[in-house]
């Protein structure tokens, strides 16, 4: 099977004053295209840093990341942005919608960046899929947390990404709303064949993915395939 993400000997260190803090140390793993994959670990284990490096949001100090066949260390910031626009989707714990744009505009931005002519139509269709067609002209501040995360889901799938990174997607939601969002996430993932990488410390959510990578203190604890039906 084709690998969509290849991580080799990844390392990241932060310097705070005179102190050096190693956040990730020699991390290597890969992810099959179309798979579901979760990264788990306690707070401070380096999960979010790893996600940032895999998605090309940050630069590693050592090692390489090959995303969708491209070694991202060779790209400059704008090239990485373009790669994300064409191949990557994101979902964040605190939704990260653009506060000054309506739900519809939020969903259509990634498509507009690609220069797609039918961005609006696709965005309306996606909002329908997440059950928010009637709220398309509302601003994020006029939506509940669950609704905001569903808009974020619609945005994440709008550019038909090859890979989708979700950082604690249910972290800011109550259990019931969280469950609905997760169901929607997996449904859309199945429908589009996107690779899904979830960063979470919710083990129940992680168990619903085909693969779990456990981190502790910046190192891989286990890298385990799951039996998911």
């Amino acid at each position: 099977m084709t690998k969509i993400l290849n991580v080799h000997n990844l390392g990241k260190t932060y310097v705070s004053g005179s102190r050096k803090l190693t956040v990730l140390d020699d991390i290597s793993f890969d992810v099959d295209a179309g798979a579901t994959f979760s990264i788990v670990g306690p707070s401070g284990s380096g999960k979010t840093t790893l996600l940032g490096l895999c998605a090309g949001l940050d630069k590693a100090d050592s090692g390489t990341v090959e995303l969708c066949g491209t070694t991202i260390e060779t790209l400059n910031e704008d090239e990485r942005a373009l790669l994300r626009n064409l191949k990557v989707g994101f979902i964040f714990q605190d939704f990260q919608l653009l506060p000054t744009l309506t739900a519809l505009e939020n969903v259509s931005v990634p498509l507009e960046l690609q220069g797609a002519k039918n961005a609006r139509e696709i965005a309306i269709e996606l909002l329908q899929k997440v059950g928010l067609a009637d709220r398309s002209h509302h601003y994020p501040s006029q939506l509940s947390g669950g609704e905001q995360q569903r808009v974020a889901l619609a945005r994440a799938f709008s550019n038909k990404p090859s890979i989708l990174f979700a950082d604690e997607p249910t972290g800011n939601l109550d259990e019931e709303t969280g469950e609905k969002v997760v169901q929607l996430l997996f449904e859309l993932n199945k429908e589009t064949g996107t690779t899904l990488i979830i960063v979470t410390h919710d083990l129940d959510l992680a168990k619903r993915t085909q693969h779990i990578l456990r981190l502790k203190g910046g190192k891989i604890l286990t890298n385990q395939a799951m039996n998911v039906s």
Binding site: G52, L57, T74, A81, N85, Q96, T100, L113, G115, R155
Partner: protein, 848 residues
């Protein structure tokens, strides 16, 4: 990847769309940024446009301003050579003018006026505006006088009443509203009385001592090249103490005078604009800081640095354009008020028209200055990392080189623009330096203040006082901006106030009976005793009795003045060569004089040259020191003298001061006249004395210093009104920047206030915290501004006005509390919504 295009497919249209979408939701805040520059632009455009109109009007009306194509003027009876030139050119009209007392038999009053006796053809261009209109053409035939309108009003005169000038009495033919070549301002010192030329002789005032001016007016019927005529004849005429002025050169000179004034006003307007730009920079800083998260999201989902940067750049530029547009329209409307504001200073009516250049300047400045001053905070969008969506990091910092580059750009722009306004790189550089110093001092003191508060934090203070003090250096605080806005505003107003104060103090009279307030000029030697007796009979004391002899410089250090005139490298000032000096002789120094070199010689020594004493400014302008020789032409007789001493004179004291003083024993027998002075305790005595003197001695001119001072005061008030009007823009801009800064930090303040309320703080505690915070800012900002203005006024006193400076308490007593109250009100107005609503409602409403 490497062979793929690295630009995103979204085009400029998308960037514009995003700028619009985002701006739509931030409209109110952008509006406030915009307001910061509107007034500055309005002030600049109005002045630029008016100056341009003024210049065009002067050029268009140059002939009617002079009333002729060219004039030859001299302040003595024309010499043979000058008369030959005048005759060969064929003067079309002539005038003799002088200052004299005029009496009004109707009410017995007397007043110093400017008598102008003119032949009938004048003016050839423009018109004599009179009421009734026909009086302008009939006064000559009927031998009547035309009298200045204000003077007629002051003394309750009507056409048909009479006016006595010298020995003659004339019927007033009409009210004189305007004469080519004189402004309301010049007429206010000595109002004009126009008489037929042939009637002047009969007044008996054309005698020694009278300061007569002879003007010969020419109409250029043969279409001579006036420039060439000026170049050929002027040097010849100058050598004969005459002068040629063409309508072109006169209008150019007039244009330059107004240009200087408009340059000054332009700078005041430019300061208002700069202040607005500081407001923009600070508001954009907070605005962009709050947008960085959104920028990171956009980058995360694929937007490039250029795209995100352009979104906000376009917003700011758009805001600058709209601000520039509104400011320009406002400026053009404002321009309409200028002719009214400046009517006393303009010798003609200004026709206003709309010119494209000031409009373009306004629009371009709006866009360019907004972008330039917003560039530093805007760079944040370029350097923010998409990782911000996952983890909040410290704000992105642009590289040092970029920051320095932008700051250099700002300074270069300020220099370039002021150079464009002033056309002199030294002045422009001084202006930039002055701006830098003012801003640095203000921000330096603000920084020092915050540091001191931190270091010596008054921990023992109550909760509210401590909390309000803490607010001054909270993250994202606006202390610096607020102090700059308040400080620069207060600095400007209070400097203007002190300057006006200084000018008025300089011109005020020392109120003691030993200081003259009435000066009698042109007293002939044979009249002297009679005049003294006449004054003594009213019970007043003669304070000065000064003989005056008129003379001109004939040569300096052995070189004839004509040779010096031709020498283009000579540093000797032209006025020294052309001036008719009024000289006196005495044996002692006055209390207003100080010897700075040489020895003051009381009496002429038995042998050698005549040792004279010069004022330091004359010695400097004539390029002589003690021991140098000078020759004078004393009414036809040549006299050699040597510089015996140099005196420093306190010209600010209103005394009869002289540039040149001779020792006793030289000039006693020369033709001379006298100046007497006395002190009249009140206006009534002064009026009575003037009436009597004018009746008995019609040739004696009486200068009432009280009246002169009132006039000076009136003029200064008018000028300061115009300057205050411009300073008002700076102050209003300061207030807008203040409102902008306060509003920008509103969300943060509200969050804190709500938190405090949630924790149980009462409304009046929150109110107290806010009130105290703005009180500190108001007192500190205006206090520093006023203190700084003390320094600048002292510098002005030393270097410009050359007079002592005793600051008044008014700025401290009125300005400081006034500005503080405004700051307080703005601050409290901002937190009203916090106090009146429940915490949750505010959080929901404000949460964007």
């Amino acid at each position: 990847m490497s062979d793929r295009p690295i630009t995103s497919k979204a085009d400029l249209n998308w960037v514009l769309k995003m700028a619009w979408r985002d701006g739509r939701a931030s409209g109110k805040r952008l509006l406030l940024f915009m307001a910061s520059i509107i007034l500055g632009i309005a002030a600049l455009v109005s002045i630029q446009s008016f100056s341009k109109n003024l210049k065009e009007n002067i050029a268009l009306q140059s002939k009617s301003l002079m009333g002729a194509d060219y004039i030859i003027d001299t302040n003595q009876i024309p010499t043979e050579r000058v008369q030959t030139i005048i005759d060969s050119l064929g003067a079309d009209a002539q005038e003799v003018s002088f200052a004299s007392m005029a009496a009004f038999p109707k009410n017995g009053a007397a007043k110093l006026v400017q008598v102008r006796g003119i032949t009938s053809k004048f003016p050839f261009y423009g018109e004599l505006e009179t009421e009734p209109r026909s009086a302008a053409s009939t006064y000559h035939k009927s031998d009547k006088a035309l009298v200045d309108g204000t003077l007629m009003l002051q003394y309750g005169l009507k056409p048909g009443d009479s006016i006595k000038v010298g020995n003659s009495t004339f019927a007033i033919g009409g009210i004189l509203k305007s004469v080519p070549g004189s402004s309301a301002l010049s007429a206010s010192f000595a109002p004009t009385v126009l008489l037929p030329y042939n009637q002047i002789e009969g007044t008996g005032l054309l005698q020694l001592g009278s300061r007569l001016d002879y003007n010969y007016y020419f109409k250029n019927d043969q279409e001579i090249d006036l420039k060439e005529l000026n170049e050929t004849l002027d040097p010849i005429l100058n050598a004969e103490n005459a002068d040629l002025d063409t309508h072109i050169s006169t209008s150019e000179r007039l244009g330059r005078t107004y240009e200087n004034f408009s340059k000054f006003l332009n700078l005041v307007a430019f300061i208002a604009l700069l202040l607005g730009c500081v407001g923009i920079a600070s508001s954009v800083y907070i605005y962009i800081k709050e947008k960085l998260r959104a920028v990171a999201i956009l980058k995360c989902i694929g937007a490039t640095r250029k795209q995100t940067f352009l979104i906000y750049l376009i917003q700011i530029a758009g805001m600058g354009l709209v601000g520039g547009l509104i400011g320009t329209i406002l400026g053009l409307v404002l321009q309409q008020s200028f002719p009214v504001l400046l009517q006393d200073f303009l010798p003609f009516t200004v026709e206003l028209s709309i010119d494209i250049q000031p409009i373009l300047t306004g629009l371009l400045l709006g866009v360019f200055m907004s972008v330039l001053f917003a560039l530093l905070p805007l760079m944040g969008t370029w350097y923010v990392s998409p990782l911000q969506v996952l983890r909040i990091q410290e704000g992105p910092l642009a590289p040092r080189k970029t920051i320095l580059g932008i700051l250099a750009g700002i300074l270069l722009f300020i220099f370039g623009f002021s150079f464009w306004l002033l056309r002199d790189w030294r002045y422009a550089l001084s202006f930039v330096m002055a701006i830098l110093v003012t801003f640095s001092v203000l921000s330096g003191i603000a920084a020092l203040f915050m540091k001191m508060v931190k270091k010596f934090f008054p921990s023992s203070w109550g909760f509210c006082a401590r909390q309000s003090l803490l607010n001054l250096f909270r993250p994202n605080n606006q202390t610096m901006t607020l102090l700059l806005a308040i400080g620069v505003g207060s600095f400007l107003i209070s400097t203007l106030y002190f300057t006006k104060d200084m000018l008025l103090a300089k011109a005020s009279l020392e109120n003691s009976s030993d200081n003259p307030n009435i000066i009698l000029m042109d007293v002939q030697t044979d009249q002297k005793e009679a005049v003294i007796n006449s004054i003594a009979s009213t019970g007043l004391k003669i304070l000065d009795n000064i003989p005056i002899i008129t003379m001109r410089v004939a040569n300096i250090k052995g070189i004839p003045v004509n040779t010096i005139r031709k020498d283009t490298t000579s540093a000797i000032k032209k006025w020294v060569l052309n001036h008719e000096f009024r000289v006196t002789y005495r044996d002692s120094l006055l209390p207003t004089e100080k010897l700075i070199s040489g020895e003051f010689i009381k009496k002429i020594p038995s042998e050698g040259l005549v040792p004279i004493s010069l004022s330091d400014n004359l010695a400097r302008d004539a390029g002589v020191i003690v021991g140098d020789t000078l020759s004078f032409n004393v009414q036809g007789v040549l006299m050699k003298a040597i510089v015996g001493s140099i005196r420093q004179i306190d010209w600010a004291r209103m005394r009869m001061n002289f540039n040149m003083v001779f020792p006793l024993g030289v000039l006693e027998s020369a033709p001379q006249f006298h100046v007497l002075s006395t002190n009249s305790p009140n206006v009534k005595t002064s009026a009575k004395l003037q009436r009597e003197l004018v009746r008995e001695f019609p040739n004696v001119s009486v200068l009432d210093l009280r009246q002169v001072l009132l006039l000076v005061q009136g003029i200064l008030n008018k000028i300061s009104w115009v300057i205050n009007f411009m300073a008002f823009f700076s102050i209003l801009t300061g207030i807008i920047v203040l409102i902008g800064s306060v509003r920008t930090s509103k969300y943060q303040r509200i969050k804190e206030s709500v938190l405090l309320r949630t924790l149980g703080a009462k409304n009046n505690q929150i109110l107290k915290i806010t009130a105290l915070e703005y009180l500190y800012l108001g007192v500190l900002g205006s206090g520093i501004g006023i203190l700084l203005s003390l320094v600048s006024s002292q510098l002005l006193a030393w270097f410009v006005f050359d007079s002592p400076f005793a600051p008044s308490w008014i700025p401290f007593l009125i300005l400081l509390p006034g500005i503080t109250v405004i700051v307080l009100l703005i601050g409290l107005g901002n937190s009203r919504s916090v106090l009146n609503s429940p915490p949750l409602q505010i959080l929901r409403k404000e949460g964007v």
